[in-house]
Symmetry: D3
Subunit: 150 residues, 6 copies
């Protein structure tokens, strides 16, 4: 974790970075249920899950999102802030013992229509499992200052 | 938490439900940082925050989303599943000691173009603070079975 | 979780409700030890337990009680409060991987001798494992307002 | 924490022991809610509590019990096991910042009617706050081997 | 946990005490990563570890130290305080499922050169695994009051 | 967090790096007590601490060490591993609300006497509080491969 000034102009379309991996554990399931209050049996009842088509406990979507995005938090950029996320999709289930990592690709950027001197940068965030399959995808919208405006 | 069959036809546009409140504590900040690995000083360094325009620690966006959505997890509906979220926006900061609750409004529904016998239901989720201000907003996309198809 | 006014007169003897299930994990053992400070080897030392007649780690009684009762917390009733528990018994051990649920049966009610306008309602709480065996039983004493007195 | 053989005959009626103190924190409230799934606003919503007669968040009864009993877990006695608890009562509320300790008094003992060579020992457990007021009381029933029978 | 006055003169060279055992769980790995912010793949990524010579996740050194020392915290001695640790060494890896205990041997003592009426007591702390092998060793330096000086 | 090959020859004596800050919270105290099993009143009993010369709860030494070192975990260097720590000293107390950061200075290096092709690098680690005062100091011993030997 370090601090670095990155302006709108510095973001390069096509740039890709990838985090290290992290194994999702039963502990993470229990911690996330306790943190959010969502104790649905899909996440918490191994016996019931064994009777369902999906066969085993499934990670909360909010957890895959939170950990997947959390893993990308390595550079503090004082020249940008997070505006939100578009098209957040849960593509494949994550089970206990899966190992996930996140790939971030700069896919688009454009000056912000309403904020003079700012631009929107779109980071396509894909959370991948140990087989390289995408389990979650979303577009992160970053608002970054332009150099002239700084 | 209980189980109830709710089909596409059962969702009524304009229907609103609201959760009880929950105070966001310093503990939640520390738990979420530890759960996600995001120890950015915006969330964790009270002294540094005091020198910034925002003045105090700000909750992780992923935490407001996870807890805000978690609070809505009260009815298990075997006839629907979560497809994803659109337009997730962090509208106001959440600080230690704020009390949040979530309001869910059915705003739209339409038959799913690709999945015969299924329909998309849009739940507008708004996380509100103790002053009734929206701090986070997003559209939850639910895929629900139609009655005839069940 | 929702709020509902339930008066003494509304409780029906013989009424039964049952929670969904939850798998008790190694994480729960570690969290409960850390929360209570009880690190007895019966709960924490897998190697030593393997040399004992019970063969494997046993859940803290206080944990089975806390989670078993916690799972019943679904309706906030402003017209009643918890007075205490009688005859709390640990009937069978709970091990890592067991799935528990709680069955609550209204077994008795009577006007409270000392509190005019209040009545005692006894809820027999039984925590069951995945084989339907009772692992913990206790009588919950609820003090509920009478309608006339409200 | 150490191991010591204590037989039925060794328990002396009137013997009192008292634990050290522990301050109950907001963290304990959040951890207990997350561990048990009980997010009732009485424990979790500071704003709502401020509008109620009790004025502030109240500890879960199951938490005061679990921590109060957990603090007494200092001697492992292979000659006894816990049979259960009688008359568990929540006498005064515990709030964030209160400091509790537990006093254990041997109040009764008698040979067990059904188990030859065993006796029941009753430990009156009182959880006290910083003002020396009892907040929780219960009778712990211990089943201890008799010396001759060991 | 109890309080006992132990002076410099009371510490006997060669005295040995040993804690009970505790199984190190995957939960402890996840809790320690979250508590310290150290999410290195050596501790967190089971898949990557499987490709490395050590084959499986390895406990954080700081965790083995913290838990190993924490297990020795049983007697509060108002006549001494911890000055620090010398020669802290990580001798063998600790894996998920290993059971550790700590052996403390008084190996040396001498009057403190700078603090009149105080003496240094060296406790050799060895954390052992289930095979009796030392996994961590360090010398704890205790500063204890002399009786005359008290 | 990223991976980078750093050999013995690459370490420069006098090189200094400093982490960002982190506020130590009451939550950290409770989590560390629960993680290690050390519930000494110096860390856990606010009322008792108020009667002592130090006046308020003091962080566990093992926690300041674990978090202080954890904050430095930003670069994975496959060419070095941690051998241990020397002269770990607790210089000033850390209280709830203090903000700490860690400064790492390369102070010494020398070829390892026993391991051909390896060298010892000493990193002086100082944990500082919000006033810039050192609260903990220790020498970290790194064993790094030499370039020729790699």
């Amino acid at each position: 974790m370090h601090t670095e000034d990155i302006y709108y102009e510095d973001y390069e379309i096509g740039h890709v970075r990838e985090t290290l991996g992290r194994t999702i554990t039963e502990t993470d399931f229990v911690v996330h249920a306790g943190h959010t209050g969502d104790f649905f049996p899909h996440h918490m009842d191994a016996d019931w899950c064994a009777t369902q088509p999906f066969g085993q406990r499934i990670a909360h979507g909010t957890m895959v999102f939170s950990i997947g995005i959390g893993m990308t938090a390595s550079v503090i950029n004082p020249q940008a802030f997070s505006y939100g996320y578009d098209r957040l999709r849960f593509i494949r289930p994550v089970h206990i013992g899966d190992t996930i990592r996140t790939r971030v690709t700069i896919t688009r950027k454009e000056p912000d229509a309403k904020r003079i001197g700012m631009g929107q940068v779109i980071e396509a965030c894909e959370v991948l499992n140990q087989d390289g399959k995408v389990v979650l995808a979303t577009d992160h919208i970053l608002l970054a200052k332009m150099k002239g405006a700084a």
